[in-house]
């Protein structure tokens, strides 16, 4: 006969086994979903890379091998030598970096005002900013075109920078305002008592503490401007001023599309974005305000 104590022990063991099995199945399912998502994300990138290194005569081949026979970087060399790709890349970089810095500077100060000060129309302003995000981007093309034309900034970098920085402002303001709201006011008050002005408190205390939100706003501005096509199509019309998004489409002819160069270009344009992401990841650490106040 099994003693009640032993019986209890057996029950406990069974319970533990059941719990472990459940946990294992849960992890298996989670990993299956994550791996599935990763494959869906990475596969197109690998295909593009594969196309970019194929020899010119086999671009439209249905071969699924990642590194095809006779693979090489001929398409890359042709893209850099025979087209204005580097120029387009430079244009894009210039416009994107300027847009990101201007956008973040404007948003960081505007968001500070929305977060810290009371003024008439504050709530309405915030809702108005949010509502601009609900309008499809395509609908803004015509007013943007008219505005930039009236300003005499068609086919200029400045026209593009203004259009881009303005359109991503609302999102950046909301992100930054939300973050500022989490920073205790007492930090600024302590700085005021210590001898800074309101601007000084913003500059010395709030901004250094907001790097995670500033990085997110910067990245958002950067990727939006970097990948933008529609506004660029409307504002820019000379090939010399093109951004890479317009430039790549130049490779698409009426009868023939140079898919090899197209793919090579697509691979190359990911490099700056990747670099910016990797660099800014160190600023994205949250919890910077830990320890400042009792929490």
């Amino acid at each position: 006969m099994v003693s009640p104590r032993k019986e209890n022990q057996i029950d406990m063991d069974k319970e533990t086994q059941r719990f472990r099995r459940k946990k294992f199945i849960k992890y298996l399912l989670i990993h299956a979903v994550i791996i599935g998502c990763a494959v869906v994300c990475v596969y197109p990138l690998l295909r593009i890379f594969s196309i970019s290194i194929r020899p010119g005569d086999r671009v439209i081949s249905t071969d699924l091998s990642l590194i095809p026979d006779g693979a090489g970087f001929a398409a890359y060399l042709r893209l850099l030598k025979d087209t204005m790709f580097l120029r387009w890349l430079w244009n894009s970089l210039l416009i994107t970096v300027a847009t990101s810095f201007i956008g973040v500077s404007l948003a960081s100060t505007a968001a500070y005002a929305f977060s810290r000060f009371r003024f008439p129309g504050k709530k309405a302003g915030l809702i108005l900013l949010l509502s601009t995000q609900m309008i499809p981007a395509g609908m803004l093309i015509l007013p943007l075109f008219l505005m930039i034309m009236k300003l005499g900034l068609m086919n200029t970098y400045l026209g593009m920078i203004i259009a881009y920085s303005v359109s991503s402002l609302p999102f950046s303001i909301w992100i930054l305002k939300g973050y500022y709201d989490t920073i205790p006011r007492s930090l600024e008050e302590a700085a005021l008592v210590d001898g800074t002005s309101q601007v000084g408190a913003f500059w010395r205390i709030i901004l250094p503490l907001s790097t995670p939100a500033l990085s997110i706003a910067f990245l958002f501005n950067f990727t939006t401007a970097w990948n933008e096509y529609l506004v660029a199509r409307v504002v820019l019309f000379s090939a010399k001023q093109y951004t890479w998004t317009l430039g790549l489409f130049e490779l698409q002819g009426q009868f023939i599309t140079q898919w090899g160069m197209f793919a090579a270009g697509s691979m190359l344009v990911t490099v700056p974005v990747l670099a910016v992401f990797l660099y800014s990841s160190k600023w994205l650490v949250s919890g910077l305000t830990l320890g400042s106040v009792k929490g």
Partner: protein
Amino acid sequence: MAEVRFSKITKKYGDNVILNGIDVEIKDHEFVVMVGPSGCGKTTLLRMLAGLEEITSGDIHIDEVLVNNMHPSKRQIAMVFQDYALYPHMTVEENMSFALRLMKRPKSEITARVHEAASILQLTKLLKRMPKQLSGGQRQRVAIGRAIVRKPKVFLFDEPLSNLDAKLREEMRVEIAKLYQRLNATILYVTHDQVEAMTLAGRIVVMNQGVVQQVGTPIEVYRKPDNLFVAGFIGSPTMNFLHGKIAAEENALVFKNESLSLRVPEFLLPGGASNAGREVVLGVRPDDVLVGADARENASERIDGILEVSELLGHRENLYIKAGENRILATVEAFFNQSPGSKVPVRFNYPNMHVFDKKTEQRINK
């Protein structure tokens, strides 16, 4: 160091009056504690002095200089915040030297002052640490250190111990008392904790609903509370209040309510027989309630009570006694040794009793 003067200070948010005609003077080198329940306006008043809150009307002077519209940094004050408010991206040393660096003081002076403050507060070993690497008590000490290095005219403390646990609070209270003896500074300290107020203050300002209720030394406020609010707020456990009417009987004044009839000595009711018919509140501190053998001495003043609950606190014991409809709390020496439900004689220590007018809530016996 400096004197501070609040004259007819009022603060309103729309129709909501937060502070109503505050007149308080803080003398040079004085440690004044403002105490009152949450929402009484004490922190608002402190923040007004710091320049962090606008004044609706009235004047604030520091050393006879009107500071109403002066920027916080120009007022030569230093403030210790309730939540420490340390700059999280700076080390302890950078936190403490922040104000001096803004003033563009020479490096040697900054280092000397920071190290001096750090040694006073035992922070020397922590100077290179970030705030998140510190315990609650250490953070509070850094916050105090940040105030000390500036050598301000007035120190402002906004409930600095309220975020600490009970033991640490006790330790820091002693630290602040020592610091005051050492700095001999003018300090305005805000708290809702009456123990902090009683132990630290040179003078206490008791506030309620935006009005100063009483200003006095801790012992004055404890022994002679001006009104019912102060009597109830200061002192732990809280004072017993007995509501009733004064009647004149056989050449004596008697306090009467539904279940009690007590002869009231004349020194408690100036004006004698003219008090007959007056509705009053008798106040007795639990320490002034005599129970058991102590109460048996004078039979005419004795009340018969029933012990409801007793709480042993170590060296003292709280006895919750019911006398008719009146509930009385007595604090006596430990080990009273009576079980709940038993009859206990109760007597009040008349010289320490307080009488308040029920309508005006003001003290009657002076």
